[in-house]
């Protein structure tokens, strides 16, 4: 009986809940008088009533679960947005903590979801020149840069045959809504090479429907390797400095050219101790702090 009652409560609001509880309790009081139902309904309320002659003890109704339809289910992954991690600098930690407070304050108002370079995002911004109008742009996130309040992300799309890239600031007060249409990762962190790739890889429909993604588990990695336009490119993507894994080099470059590009390899880089930056402990600390403050 109580299971049914709680289920009902979930769907209805508080007022209806209390009404139903009263109804239930009333029913129970009536049923109490019929001893043959005692075995069928083995509720604690009945037993208490049988033991003591006083009025039935008030059991508060179970709390209703409020489903906030405006915010999609928050991801249950341990994801800390990269702009929270402070850069490797000789800055006072007070500066980062004060800035983090501002960022958390902004996040309480605007929901900034989890997304990576390679996910398709739709952004709604207010127009500064026209009062009250909103601009919506859909694109693939090619880069997430900047730390702290000035963190930015670039969205790329091809509109009417023209490639368009817009750099948005995550914490700008003009941002109205950021929604992730398709959450996925690519083989690289930086997809600037899409500028020199065939336009089909950067075209996304503005009316694209959001693709369902799991809240738990790993983020799906799209192992897509992109076909490039003929050279010259804006940057020499084959060089080891960019460390790109998401381009089909075998279709556009000869093995000799690939070997020639390896001349710019810097094999000592992974062993450079001065460039080491272990953020694991910092990340954990900051993640805890952010989660704690967001819940307040």
């Amino acid at each position: 009986m109580f299971l049914v009652h709680t289920l009902l409560c979930q769907r209805s609001n508080m007022a209806a809940c209390t009404r139903r509880t009263r109804q239930m309790l009333g029913l129970l009081r009536i049923l109490r008088n019929f001893p043959q139902n005692e075995r069928l309904l083995s509720t604690s309320v009945l037993r208490h009533n049988v033991a003591s002659d006083g009025p039935p003890k008030f059991t508060p109704p179970s709390k209703p679960v409020i489903i906030d339809k405006t915010q999609k289910e928050a991801s249950l992954r341990r994801f800390l947005s990269p702009e929270f991690i402070p850069p490797r600098q000789r800055t006072n930690t007070v500066k980062f903590s004060v800035e983090r407070k501002d960022m958390i304050q902004r996040r309480k108002v605007l929901n900034i979801p989890e997304f990576y370079a390679g996910s398709i995002v739709a952004v709604t911004m207010t127009d500064p020149h026209v009062n009250g109008s909103l601009n919506r742009f859909v694109g693939i996130c090619i880069q997430r840069s900047g730390k702290g309040l000035g963190a930015t992300f670039k969205l790329r799309n091809v509109v009417d045959g023209q490639g368009v890239e817009i750099c948005y600031e995550l914490y700008s007060p003009r941002m109205r809504k950021i929604e992730v249409l398709k959450l996925e990762k690519r083989l690289d962190d930086n997809l600037m090479y899409l500028r020199d790739a065939l336009p089909e890889y950067s075209t996304f429909d503005f009316d694209m429907q959001p693709v369902h993604y799991e809240i738990t588990g790993d983020v799906p990695v799209n192992p897509l390797k992109v076909k490039m336009r003929p050279k010259p490119w804006s940057k020499r993507w084959e060089r080891p400095k960019f460390n790109i894994k998401g381009i089909r080099f075998d279709l556009c470059l000869t093995p000799e050219m690939m070997e020639h590009a390896q001349k710019w390899a810097e094999p000592w880089r992974p062993y450079d101790m001065l460039k080491e930056y272990d953020t694991s402990s910092l990340e954990e600390q900051i993640f805890k702090e952010v989660q704690e403050n967001l819940r307040k």
């Binding site: 600098q89 000789r90 800055t91 006072n92 007070v94 500066k95 004060v98 800035e99 407070k101 304050q105 207010t126 500064p128 702290g148 309040l149 000035g150 600031e169 914490y171 700008s172 007060p173 003009r174």
Partner: protein, 357 residues
């Protein structure tokens, strides 16, 4: 010195240290002797050194807390603001920069200056200073006394304040003098005021004429022989037959005091004592910086000196929750009577002081 924990008195230890420092002159004149300078740690055991460090930190804390209460340490009388009076400034630490957005959506960049342990250290009257205006010497960040000369530490001992890393002089009118030992906080400035910030610029070393003075140099190609970044001609020819003094030439660039004028204060965080000042400020991160009120009045009415008593509400960047939060950790007073005492210290009217959670 025996082993184990020796509890020596602070006074005797200090006398010992200062005596060591005076052994600088050679014993016999005229003979080249090796200088017998010692550092404070050299002849002490580890226990004594750690004890001294502990004692010093405790003493600092005691001194700061003594100066916090305006009841124990009676401030000098407060005077009314008069047109043309000049207030003290502050010494702050440059933390870093961050963006700030206005209500209309425009983005500005802001430098964060944290006021760490700022105390007024000395008052120089008109006669002592230059004959025209009185001066107040203000000190910045706390620093250890062990590697500083005796004469430097004496000034702080007289004021009853821990030794500071940076000392600056502020020319101040007679109605704005403050008793030595009073702490100064970021709330000294309000959002909407304009400040001048002075600091030592980042040293660039010996630099060429293009970087140092912004010369255009010569073209990269079209027949230039070994001349691409040179200064070119040094002046007119035979008539003066000399190079004028002050000719811009290569040399050491940076590491000199420079001032940026007319920077607007966007925000004041009173919990951490941080001033958010518009634009960029000379100096590297964590450098000490002198912040004072704008002296040069521009013709543009927006930048004119604002009457320092009441804050202009329209300049306040609304929507900033922490703009005026006086947290309990900074000021531990809650009663109205003590609030009035506080106001005399900060030289601002009682109505503008709000104590919020």
């Amino acid at each position: 010195m025996s082993q184990g924990n020796i509890i020596i008195s602070f006074e005797s230890a200090w006398k010992y240290l200062t005596s060591l420092r005076d052994l600088r002159a050679p014993i016999i004149q005229g003979i080249r002797t090796h200088r017998t300078n010692t550092w404070w740690d050299e002849h002490l055991t580890e226990d004594n050194a750690s004890f001294l460090k502990k004692v010093i930190t405790e003493e600092y804390k005691q001194q700061t807390t003594d100066k916090l209460s305006p009841l124990k340490d009676e401030p000098w009388p407060r005077h009314e603001w008069v047109e043309g009076s000049r207030r003290v400034g502050l010494v702050a630490v440059k933390l870093g920069m961050m963006p700030v957005w206005t209500k209309s959506g425009e983005r500005q960049v802001v430098t964060m200056l944290q006021v760490q342990d700022c105390h007024v250290v000395k008052h120089l009257s008109k006669e002592e200073y230059d004959g025209h205006t009185a001066a107040l010497i203000v000190g910045g960040k706390n620093v250890s006394p062990f590697h500083r000369p005796e004469g430097y530490l004496e000034v702080f001992r007289n004021a009853g304040v821990p030794p500071k890393q940076k000392l600056t002089t502020f020319c101040v009118s007679d109605n704005a003098i403050i008793k030595p030992g009073t702490p100064l906080y970021a709330a000294h400035f309000r959002p909407g005021q304009y400040v001048d910030v002075t600091a030592k610029t980042i040293g660039k070393g010996f630099q060429g004429v293009m970087k140092r003075w912004g010369f255009k140099g010569q073209p990269a190609s079209h027949g230039q022989t070994k001349t691409h970044r040179r200064p070119g001609s040094l002046g007119p020819g035979g008539d003066p037959a000399k190079v004028f003094k002050g000719k811009k030439m290569p040399g050491r660039m940076g590491n000199i005091y420079d001032t940026t004028h007319g920077l607007k204060v966007w925000r004041v965080n009173t919990k951490y004592n941080i001033l958010y000042v518009n634009g960029s400020v000379p100096g590297h991160r964590n450098c000490l910086v002198k912040v004072k009120r704008l002296t040069h009045t521009h013709t543009n009415s927006q930048v004119c000196e604002v009457k320092c008593t009441c804050p202009q509400v329209e300049y306040l960047f609304e929507g900033e929750g922490s703009a005026f939060i006086f947290s309990a950790s900074v000021f531990t007073f809650s009663s109205v009577k003590l609030k009035k005492e506080l106001c005399t210290v900060l030289s601002m009217p009682a109505q503008s002081l709000t104590l919020a959670r």
